[in-house]
């Protein structure tokens, strides 16, 4: 395969990025104000006991040595202890990251399922009522802050209509968490064959996912519309039309595939900012996600947790970008990473 090589090359390019992320997350934590030794030693500690704790934690060593310790711990999968939860940061992240990912992914799938057809429709009829509706809808979606949309949805569907469950976390308390395989409740419950839990998890998920989806509608729909308009005005579309190809074929086989590239780019960006910014939604719906975890840790000066969060997010984005780049190669045969 001639295309396997550039893909391997692209994966190899991830390595220096990961190294850089580790170094920066280490230095950033050292640069934060506050002295972990004083924190660990407690309020009643005097100078001597703080120094003792510092020596015990290895904080009296020079920075490069500390870095080596840190990397050594990392390699063993040890991200340190969280002070607020009392658990290891790795365990906390493993618990909470899937919750956030599940929410964000579902929101994006929902959003794409609506925004992309809407964008395509608007592009095929520019200036029509569909186009205007699209514009109004996405502007409204992005103008309202997520916590507000969230609260409104809870008010309407839980308080007034009573069809949504109480907005308290990932699963109502009468259900047991499914056996943990991926950490995604939807997938785990299906794997366990427990449809009741699956639907319960769905019901919990739908409102927060909808809230996020409304917010992410705008960039995806707008970009789809713009990319489709550009693609539809290309010369090759005229060739396809002149050859008598059916409208569906021209629209989806020719125009849409060419419009995919900018849409995928936007999707990647939207995914990144949603994952970082859904802390408000997590708060409104008491969702035990990584965003609220990080904010709580930061407020409590829980540096190991913050460091773990930064590292996890950075790695996630590296993986995300890799996935997007690989998607490009799948869509567009012209892209070869070797040429750079």
């Amino acid at each position: 395969m001639t295309r396997a090589r550039p893909i391997l090359m692209r994966i190899a390019q991830v390595i220096p990025v990961v190294v850089g992320v580790v170094i920066i997350s280490f230095i950033l934590t050292r640069a934060l104000p506050g002295d972990p030794a004083a924190y660990f030693a407690g309020d009643a500690a005097d100078e001597a006991s703080i120094a003792e704790v510092r020596a015990k934690l290895g904080l009296d060593e020079p920075l490069p040595i500390q870095f080596l310790y840190y990397v050594g711990d990392l390699l063993r999968g040890d991200l340190g202890q969280s002070l607020t939860t009392g658990q290891s940061v790795a365990a906390d992240l493993a618990q909470r990251l899937p919750a956030s990912l599940e929410l964000t992914l579902c929101a994006l799938i929902l959003s794409c399922g609506f925004a992309i057809p809407l964008g395509v429709l608007a592009a095929t009829r520019p200036g029509s009522w569909v186009d205007h509706l699209c514009r109004v809808l996405v502007t409204a979606g992005v103008s309202m802050p997520t916590f507000f949309t969230g609260v409104v949805l809870v008010y309407v569907f839980y308080y007034l209509a009573g069809i949504a469950p109480s907005p308290l976390g990932r699963l109502d308390f009468i259900y047991l968490e499914p056996e943990r395989v991926t950490g995604f409740f939807l997938i785990d419950s299906l794997l366990a064959g427990d449809f009741e839990t699956f639907f319960a998890a769905c019901r919990q998920l739908i409102l927060p996912a909808l809230t996020l989806a409304l917010f992410t509608l705008a960039p995806i729909a707008r970009m789809t519309r713009a990319a489709m308009l550009q693609s539809l005005s290309s010369d090759f579309i005229r060739t396809a039309r002149a050859a008598g190809l059916r409208r569906r074929k021209v629209l989806f086989g020719y125009a849409f595939r060419n419009a995919m590239l900018p849409v995928v780019t936007t999707l990647g960006m939207v995914f990144s900012f949603t994952l970082g910014a859904n802390v408000l939604v997590e708060k409104v719906f008491a969702w035990p996600g990584i965003g609220s975890y990080a904010v709580e840790a930061l407020v409590a000066s829980d540096y190991a947790a913050v460091q773990g969060f930064v590292l996890a997010m950075a790695l996630l984005f590296v993986v995300l970008n890799l996935v997007i780049d690989l998607t490009y190669t799948a869509i567009d045969p012209r892209i070869g990473f070797g040429s750079r």
């Binding site: 010369d235 090759f236 060739t239 039309r241 008598g244 059916r246 020719y254 595939r257 060419n258 045969p333």
Partner: protein
């Protein structure tokens, strides 16, 4: 077979409706090839899109009738049109690479058409596609089936476009500027192929082109369009040798051809005697063994493999060749936008190649070599007025004050025939010819001794090209500049140049006095270039 009656097409734009086609009538008989010629904006392409009903959004057929084989195309349903397009009437387009879906294998694109018109099934599509590709003389069709457009040459892409158009044996083929953007020899190969297929299948055809030579050579009848109207129709021999309409006459005159002089391109009333330009035998620019090698993905690319030639003071030297022959690389090295790999560029006795290009921008000799670029639109900053563009080199390379610069800009506008009130306009408010004038004024602002002209008229209509070429001829006589004229158009080179250098594959195959090289070429390649260039018949001036 096809009849168009009083067709009118208009476009809705932000500034109101624009009538692109204003009531034209045409007939195409069975087995006939009709040429529609005209300059840009004459509505010739819009006419063909209208009859195929593939106008861009905003375009509507306002009036008229289009009948094809008894079917009223204007009233046919979209479904009926879909069956007609590609099977009865099909089109080939200009700029073949853009006309193909960039991310779909060419074989699949041909298969799409075949399957749409039920000429193939999923099972036998591939065999049928290979057959269609072989019909347009694509060698090794099996392997090319899996190629993407970016992996093929321009000529090969145009063959694929032809294969798509001809796959379902249409009765009428519309070729919209089929050779624009192709090299002259490829152009000939494609046109010969298309016409032989048209003849073999006894099809009718409409060839839309701005190239009178092409139309004269390949069409039975010609319709001349101007501003959305047909000004003249007739047998192609008659239209060109004895045009009845004034516009056709001007168009025929403006087309560079064998035996024409530069002044004869202009309308009769504007023909003043051509001023002679002084040529000395003192060399101004001497290029010796110039080599440029780029580091490519798969090994080094030898763009220029050791070329040597001389431009004397006052002389105009033409650098001719097809795309990829290294002529642009050579001119970029001379104007010092690129560092040569080896070789000398002696300018007025001093070797410029020794100065690294980062330093050359500050070199006093920078002002003495200037360049006029190919695309007048793209080479002007869209946010600068004409005045600012012309003033730019004065600011950087001379030390006059503001008032002196302003005076100089006015003088340059006068010199290049740019009306003074246009100086404060932005590029998008200027016409193609006016932008070309701005580009020339900018280049001569600092009194260069050598002007490098990189296809300065390639993007212009013939009538504007005629004016620009004459402007260049006047300027060299008045200012005593030397020109290095880079072009692929042999007829233009013949008009303007004293000396011609023919390049191929990074090497010079032949050089000599223009009359000798053009009149009695010694190299086969020059001969094939000359043969490939369509030669428009000249008008009988006796009448």
């Amino acid at each position: 077979m096809l009849s168009i009656k009083d067709l009118a097409v208009s476009f809705r734009t932000r500034r109101g409706t624009v009538d692109a086609v204003k009531g034209i009538s045409l007939e195409v008989a069975s087995g006939e090839t009709l040429g529609i010629v005209g300059e840009s904006g004459s509505g010739k392409s819009v006419t063909s899109y209208a009859l195929m009903r593939i106008l861009d959004a905003g375009g509507t057929i306002k009036a008229g009738e289009v009948t094809y084989g008894g079917v009223d195309l204007r009233r046919a349903s979209e479904r009926e049109m879909g069956d007609i397009r590609g099977r009865e009437i099909s089109m080939i387009f200009q700029n073949p690479r853009a006309a193909l879906n960039p991310i779909r294998k060419v074989g699949h694109q041909i298969a799409d058409v075949l399957r749409r018109h039920s000429r193939a099934t999923a099972g036998d599509a591939k065999a049928k596609v290979v057959e269609a590709m072989e019909a347009v003389m694509i060698r090794d069709a099996e392997a090319r089936y899996h190629a993407y457009p970016f992996e093929l040459s321009g000529g090969m892409c145009q063959r694929i476009v032809c294969a798509i158009a001809l796959a379902c044996d249409p009765r009428l083929l519309i070729a919209d500027e089929p050779t624009t953007g192709l090299d002259i020899t490829t152009q000939k190969a494609v046109m010969d192929l298309v016409t032989s297929l048209i003849r073999a299948r006894n099809m009718s055809a409409i060839v839309i082109t701005h190239d009178l030579g092409l139309a004269a050579q390949y069409c039975d009848r010609i319709a001349v369009m101007k501003d959305g109207q047909i000004v003249e129709t007739g047998r192609s021999v008659d239209v060109f040798t004895a045009p009845t309409h004034d516009y056709t006459r001007r168009l025929v005159d403006a087309t560079p051809r064998e035996g024409a002089s530069i002044r004869s391109l202009l309308p009769a009333e504007a023909r003043t005697p051509e001023p002679p330009h002084k040529r000395s035998t003192r060399p101004l620019l001497e290029v010796r063994d110039l080599v440029k090698t780029f580091a490519g993905k798969s090994g080094p690319v030898h763009a220029v493999k050791g070329v040597s030639f001389t431009v004397n003071e006052g002389q105009t030297v033409g650098l001719v060749g097809e795309s990829g022959c290294g002529k642009s690389t050579t001119s970029s090295m001379i104007v010092r936008l690129l560092d040569p790999t080896s070789g000398e560029i002696r300018f007025a006795g001093e070797d410029l190649a020794k100065i690294p290009l980062q330093k050359f921008a500050r070199d006093p000799r920078r002002a003495q070599i200037q360049m006029v670029f190919q695309d007048a639109t793209d080479s002007l900053n869209p946010r600068h007025t004409a005045r600012a563009s012309i003033e730019e080199p004065l600011k950087r390379l001379t030390n006059g004050n503001g008032a002196a610069r302003r005076a100089r800009v006015e003088e340059l506008a006068e010199l290049t025939g740019l009306p003074g009130h246009l100086l404060d306009r932005f590029p998008h408010q200027l016409s193609g010819g006016q932008k070309a004038r701005v580009g020339i004024a900018r280049a001569i602002a600092v009194n260069p001794r050598l002007l490098i002209l990189d296809e300065p008229t390639a993007a212009l209509d013939v009538s504007i090209q005629a004016v620009v070429l004459n402007l260049l001829a006047d300027l060299r006589a008045r200012l005593g500049m030397s020109y290095l004229f880079v072009s692929h158009d042999l007829h233009v080179v013949r008009l303007l140049c004293d000396h011609v250098v023919v390049m191929r594959g990074g090497e010079i195959v032949e050089q000599g006095a223009a009359a000798d090289v053009m009149g009695a070429p010694s190299h086969d390649y020059t001969r094939s270039l000359l043969e490939a260039a369509p030669n428009p018949p000249s008008r009988k001036t006796a009448a």
